[in-house]
Amino acid sequence: MKLRDIGIIYRKEMKDTLRDRRALISMIVVPILLMPLLTIGIGVLSAEIVGRAMEEIPKVMILGGADSPNITAELRAQSDIHVVPAGADYAQQIEDKRIRAAVEIPPGFDASLAAGTPATITLYDYKNDLKSSIAADRLQKFFRDLGDRTVRERLEAQRLPDSLIHPIEVNEQNAAPPEKATGELIGGIVPYFVILLCLTGAIYPAIDLTAGEKERGTMETILSSPVSRTDLVFGKFLTVLTASLATAFLAVLSMAVSFGIGKTLLMSLTDPGQASGFTLSINPGSVAAVFVMVLPLAVLFSAALLAVALCAKSYKEAQSYLQPMTILVLVPGIVSLLPGVDLNARLALIPVLNTSLVSKEILMGTYHWHYIALIFISSCVYAAAALTIAVRLFEREDVLFRT
């Protein structure tokens, strides 16, 4: 192996890659645009949607309550809901989203409230519909307040203190460091995207340097040069790796910037009280650590992509081979996002999943050194295996000159 030759091939391939528009788009444009779109775009959009839903005064229906004028009048007086005339098809109307919720007042409600006997209110809403939930929440709050008020009045009438029904006060304080909270929120998504972009950034150069070269017919000419095949593979591999890491690096950079912008944007959109609970802070140290963990994975991707694409005859064939590979990476990535999937020794050996999980922990500020070591070493072993396969394939005539 001659470093000089590897260097020559590397520089040649980099020059070529930087002139390939497809590679440039996936390497530079996608990560830079995707991240702001993902963070700012989705953040702003959801804040907008929630804000608009909150502004709307939901239509609700009162069912029954003919003998309880107090409660119906009080409901009608609420400014954050709009009571519409009752109809028998209330369920259908909720389903059709003509009204957002309905409340059923049992017969003799006013009377039983005055008498102190328990009464049951039934709420009808559309589960998981944002606007319906808002209407139901407002009705719930109304009845909760009414209940509290009734209790207080009854206590007062009996001359009993308020504390009688509140013997214990729970005061909750967030003890987790800000990066922990952030880790839970974005810790899973960040490594997931970094890993995914490591792959997507490497795909085009990998195809171009192997199947693309076959298609253009330049494979023979490069093979007849005095560069050994091993050096050739390493030169090509380093090019793909560079593209992969550049993509991931740009993604992280663009994400950091967009989080900064996104945070201020969100603050201005939502009321300050709510936004202050939404702390976003990424420790540059943990980002660097995540990067180190992703490094062997990028090596694995680059070598595997190179090996697979080399087996293809043409650009098109290579693309169809690499598509399933993307899914192969997506699945462990998604698994790592599932709640309750925590790092253990067995999961630490599964490529992609292990890196994704450990990165999540690192971003949360937790460093399980034995897992980190295990994951780093196992990823390196996989990467070395993939690279060995790529080198071997370059020695095989039936792969290089498939007809």
Partner: protein, 340 residues
């Protein structure tokens, strides 16, 4: 070692395993699970030697095994059996050292990088082949004199015409001044002027540097203009290896005499020339062609007869086009009379 062959090939054989595809949709599905392979003998026990300074044409129809031979000679493919020593190396065993002593041009592909200027590719090759700056400048100068490279050294390869690209490719292949040059279809797709340029250049470097050249081609003009020796391969077997002149002498049976009549008034007399074994054809109104077997008729007799029968303006004696000859060889006409 003076006069020892530069290339020595003995019983060189290359087999490929190729998948045999079944027909139809069902066949396609069966193929997914059970592939049948056939061994194809691309090159079969060929032997030859090439002396330093020779220019040898290697011809054969598509799929005859020409490119496979070139790939083995350049160390890209490993032979299935047989011996091959080129420039003192066994190409696939000492490939990186060996290829420093050879130049290779694949006609339909380029070793120059598509998107970058020609000069950048050449500079990169200079580094790969360890050519000193002085030698590099000198050779670029020489190539420029013969090939006229300067005009497009700074143009990206993709913007060059095929002919311009071929000139650059030749320069790239000869940058390290190799004593041995392999050319796979160097004139394919080129126009007449470009072909002429390339042939002129090849003759020049062969004379100036005594560069040994082995070229495969479909274009027999390449052979006629450049090579004294030809090797004919078909179905992986070497059918003929020897001087082009000998092949012509032994196999060219037909000769042609083309003549132009002075005026239309000569036309009725033409019938008097016709006789068994002669083929009289009309080229245009006044031009006619007689083809004949030169073993049956003497050209001089025939000309005398023509001159005695009709008044002519012009006369031309031609051999059968070499394409026709090669076609006959590919079609399986016995070559034993030549080879013996």
């Amino acid at each position: 070692m003076p006069n020892s062959p530069l290339i020595s090939v003995r019983d060189l054989t290359k087999n490929f395993r190729s998948a045999h595809r079944r027909e139809g949709l069902w066949g396609g599905i069966v193929d997914l699970f059970h592939r049948e392979y056939r061994t194809v003998e691309a090159v079969s026990k060929i032997s030859f030697e090439i002396e330093p300074g020779e220019m040898v044409g290697y011809i054969g129809p598509n799929g005859a095994g020409k490119s496979t031979t070139i790939k083995m000679l350049t160390g890209i493919l490993v032979p299935s059996s047989g011996e091959l020593v080129s420039n003192g190396f066994v190409p696939w065993r000492e490939r990186t050292a060996y290829v420093r002593t050879i130049g290779v041009v694949f006609g339909q592909r380029t070793q120059l990088w598509w998107d970058i200027a020609v000069i950048e590719s050449l500079k990169l090759l200079r580094r790969i082949y360890d050519v000193s700056q002085h030698d590099f400048d000198e050779r670029i100068e020489t190539f420029d004199q013969i090939l006229g490279l300067r005009d497009y050294l700074n143009t990206p390869v993709r913007k060059l015409s095929l002919g311009e690209r071929m000139r650059c490719d030749l320069a790239a292949a000869l940058l390290h001044n190799p004593p041995l040059l392999f050319l796979d279809e160097p004139t394919i797709g080129l126009d007449v002027v470009a072909k002429d340029h390339i042939r002129h250049f090849l003759r020049a470097i062969n004379q100036r540097y005594r560069t040994t050249v082995l070229l495969t081609t479909h274009d027999l003009d390449d052979i006629e203009e450049l090579c004294r020796r030809i090797m004919i391969i078909d179905h992986g077997r070497l059918l003929y290896d020897g001087p082009l002149a000998l092949l012509k002498q032994k196999l060219l049976r037909t000769k042609q005499v083309k003549f132009a009549l002075r005026d239309k008034g000569q036309l009725p007399q033409l019938a008097a020339i016709e006789r068994e074994g002669l083929k009289l054809e009309r080229v245009d109104e006044l031009t006619w062609r007689i083809s004949f077997d030169r073993t049956l008729f003497a050209t001089a007799d025939l000309i005398r007869q023509i001159l005695g029968t009709v008044e002519i303006r012009d006369l031309l004696i031609e051999d059968e086009p070499i394409e026709e000859l090669i076609k006959r060889i590919y079609a399986g006409e016995a070559l034993h009379e030549v080879n013996t």
